[in-house]
Symmetry: C2
Subunit: 160 residues, 2 copies
């Protein structure tokens, strides 16, 4: 194999011009975290949207797809596909709304809740790795700052 020469420590040699940008760090760390979780989800043939949908159903209860669309900013057509897959796997149930039969009400199943709990645990494991350098207090500070940034966000479409 040879070489593998690490004359340039792979990452620490990144241009200061970029490292000076908080948004660059935000984007880089966020992408990495996202990627790690996505890998774990992929092992179960799931994608990030699946988790987001399950979380929304768990947190807010059964809803019509149109509500999920508004809430998560997902494309209706894409949601249809996600819901399809989740239903096929038994994680959600779909039923025509009796009151307005155009609507399809989606409900998380017991299996869905179990899955979501596992996914949440995995997400927290990833988070623990990412936040490893920070102590509990610092993590809270970080979370608080991020939350404020999030709330101020232009909400430019898309929960994922």
């Amino acid at each position: 194999m040879v070489s593998d020469l690490p004359p340039l420590p792979p990452g620490h040699a990144l241009p200061p011009t970029l490292l000076d940008l908080s948004t660059y760090l935000l984007s880089r760390i966020g992408k990495s975290s996202r990627g790690r979780l996505a890998e774990l989800l992929a092992e179960r043939d799931l994608r990030l949207w699946d988790m987001a949908v399950l979380a929304a159903l768990s947190d807010f209860g059964p809803q019509a797809q149109r509500d999920l669309v508004r809430r998560l900013g997902i494309d209706p057509s894409d949601l249809a596909k996600v819901a399809d897959q989740l239903a096929a796997a038994g994680y959600v149930e779909r039923a025509r709304d009796a009151a307005d039969r155009r609507r399809v009400s989606v409900t998380i199943t017991a299996a869905g809740r179990v899955l979501l709990a596992e996914l949440d645990e995995q997400a927290r494991a990833v988070q623990d790795e990412v936040l490893a350098p920070l102590d509990a207090g610092e993590r809270e500070v970080l979370h608080g700052l991020l939350l404020r940034l999030h709330r101020a966000q232009g909400e430019r479409r898309g929960a994922m």
Copy 2:
């Protein structure tokens, strides 16, 4: 037209299950920042990698492509394309290394520096929007925390 009914404030209705994850916020805010900058770059027919390469050349001086590959974690083949485009536009110059004629040394031009300065300014404008809710002190705290996270990163490939 009509409706436009905003019964569900688009973003604030996101599932707490997700909002409790710092990594989720990180990823969401990062992605949004990244996206905004990418849009600005796109107006000039540039992508994020172009900026990263220019930054590396500006910060570290002329280098062979192999060094950029190591530094930025970009695929050699992809870098060739980026360098091609930058050279065609006059932002960098390529020359065979006299000592080792396999290598192609890349140098940023004056035009390249001007461009980079403009891009950096745009990136900071985006950052100002994203960080709007934070005062100067908080921004520093955030940057410090992010830097520590970044340094601890598994450096899982890819500067962008």
